[in-house]
Symmetry: C2
């Protein structure tokens, strides 16, 4: 399958690298393709690099790995024609570093970045997931406790969510993905970031995840 990965930071590189390792063709969209030449040489020819529009056009399924503050503009650069009808797996968090550390959120409580993206691009099938843990664990949950910990999914389109859950299980090895409901439930997972950041500080490592014990 062809994937488009928007954003070329740690999250974008990790997702793209894993998808390539799994045998898929991937195009990474970025504002500055030149800075990725070293990385691209490492990951091999199944990963190409281009503009946001080129990556969005290439992918049958898209990942939003841009920083939250730049997500809407990146998607606008990708272009509605390249987005419409597709699934966007939205990993971005609306972190606000402008007020110092730890970051706060640019949007929360009665709205979320996931909802903002869905409202801005109504024909895109936004599925929020993977935004509650560090990049390395997103694509390799078995690094912790035999993958016995939980991921959450939010979105308005039931079929799109089912496809994403199947992909997370098949390609990344996730066991449990809890469907929280429609895209408004992205408020809940984005609002996990403040405690996530503090847990990183308390535990002195980002290699942890939430498990819902019942």
């Amino acid at each position: 399958m062809n994937f488009g990965v928007l954003g070329s930071g740690t999250v974008g590189q990790t997702i793209a690298g894993k998808l390539a390792e799994r045998g898929h063709a991937v195009k990474v969209g970025t504002r500055d393709a030149a800075k990725l030449s070293d990385w691209q040489a490492q990951v091999g020819t199944s990963v190409s690099v281009g503009s946001f529009a080129a990556a969005a056009a290439f992918g049958e399924i898209l990942f939003n790995c841009t920083s939250g503050s730049g997500s809407i503009s990146a998607l606008q650069m990708a272009g509605e024609a390249n987005l419409n009808g597709k699934i966007l797996i939205d990993i971005a968090n609306p972190l606000d570093f402008s007020k110092g550390m730890p970051p706060s959120l640019t949007v929360c409580n009665t709205d979320s970045l996931g909802e903002q993206i869905q409202r801005t691009f109504p024909a895109l099938k936004v599925v929020k997931t993977l935004n509650t843990l560090t990049a390395q664990l997103m694509v390799n949950p078995a690094l912790l406790n035999n993958a016995e910990h939980d991921l959450f999914v939010s979105g308005n389109d039931a079929d799109a969510k089912a496809q994403v859950v199947a992909l997370l299980q098949r390609e990344f090895g996730w066991k449990t993905v809890i469907d929280l409901g429609d895209i408004t439930t992205a408020r809940g997972t984005e609002m996990l970031l403040p405690v996530w950041v503090r847990l990183w500080g308390a535990l002195q490592t980002p290699m942890f995840n939430f498990k819902i014990v019942r």
Copy 2:
């Protein structure tokens, strides 16, 4: 030990009942003592009921089990002289039901109820904890997975936090309490409520808790 429990809803009754069962003397503070006469008859003579001021004066350690929207006013009614120098275990969440269901928060992101209480009563030792799970589990974590799940604690006073953690372990049976840091980390645990509410909906039960898998 003598405890003062401010608030007489499900959380206050559950905490007071458990402390009484453990052999402590408890005074519950409420705006309307008359409505608690049936409950008081059940729990026995080690629990008394009175005003917020009477409960605060009685307790060597206090619990804030009022609704978040009424916490500051309840503490003002309790009176600074009855609060100063004591530990307040703050369980309240700033839930806002005025905008419909699910609730949003009246304060979050760059502030929290825990911080508001600490700012309003500087000589009170505010320790935020127990606010991330349902009342029944607060006092009996062994109901889930042999108590192998996590509680968080936030507060500015290290000694107060240590006393509270010891109390949670000794009286309620908690195994793991993660110290997130100062009272500003209460933002993180109060902001867990939106995903907690959605998890309740998705799982169809409030009998769950977070475990941090490392």
